[in-house]
């Protein structure tokens, strides 16, 4: 498999979840798009095919580790900080993480889930996103985010509690059982 084919496979498998990860990180579609392209440019420059052939055990965790480093690099530039402030003002109520639905109830549910997730503090938001949407285990989250596993678990618990608090009054099925 050539490097190009390897990149195409990675894109087809992970592009959406990586884009939404960047969006959860930056809260900006524009920056998420730039970061997604930067990620693939890095993969292309570093020959993703060679890297994956050299014993990357967990492809998904490896990609999210690269994505996290990319976000950190990106956030260091003054330009990115300036755009982030601008994006926070404009894109808080922009399109959600999930696909639109013709069913109004489902569409409303998806919008509310996205809004509740975006409202979480960043450390909890990232862990909840990686666990619930990207499907990583706590060990993989710990590797990708370079945090202890216990920290990942505690951030997840706090995040879920806040989601329940936010969504419980609207959706009775999400209410905390007495």
């Amino acid at each position: 498999m050539t490097a190009r084919q390897q990149l195409e496979r990675i894109y087809d498998t992970y592009a959406e979840v990586l884009f939404q990860y960047f969006r959860a990180r930056t809260r900006s579609c524009e920056q998420a798009r730039d970061l997604l392209q930067d990620l693939f440019v890095r993969l292309g420059a570093g020959s993703a095919a060679a890297a994956l052939g050299d014993g990357v055990q967990n492809e998904k965790a490896w990609l999210f580790t690269i994505a996290r480093n990319l976000v950190i690099d990106h956030a260091r530039s003054a330009d990115a900080r300036q755009r982030k402030v601008h994006a926070l003002e404009n894109e808080m109520s922009a399109t959600g993480f999930f696909a639109p639905s013709p069913d109004p109830d489902l569409a409303r549910l998806r919008e509310d889930l996205s809004a509740a997730l975006l409202a979480l503090p960043e450390p909890q938001r990232i862990v909840v996103y990686l666990r619930l949407i990207a499907g990583l285990t706590f060990e993989e989250i710990a590797t990708a985010e370079e945090i202890p596993s216990n920290t990942a678990v505690s951030r997840y618990r706090y995040g879920i509690d806040k989601l329940q608090a936010a969504l419980g009054p609207v959706y009775s099925e999400f209410s905390i059982d007495p």
Partner: protein, 139 residues
Amino acid sequence: MNDLEDPFRSQPLRPLPPSWRAEILNAACPESGNNGVSPVALLFSFIPKPVALPLAAAWVIIAILRVSTPASQPSSIAAMIAESPRSSDSGDQLDHALEVRRMIWIAWQDERESLESMATVREVEREPEWIDDRRLFLP
């Protein structure tokens, strides 16, 4: 807890615009090199480009001129020395050296005579002009 996790997990993610795929992949890994290039196209890539053609033509012309141009003739003195007989005995080396010296002397004399004769011819050719000038100023 599962009541909250399941709705999140069951929702499909928003699809990305289809145009992004080509844009991002082309930025990451341009379709060049051997990927998708037919062998014939690869062969054509080795044909000299127009920029290199004049340079190649210049080299061909230089090579043809060099092969077709005869080597310059050796000078008369050097030719005489080269064609003079050489003795194989070491005792005759002095005679050979004297013979060479004599031949150089003769060649030099010939050269001087030819130069003198050329100068005489030039003076003879200029004389009518001098006579004409004298006639103009001395009636």
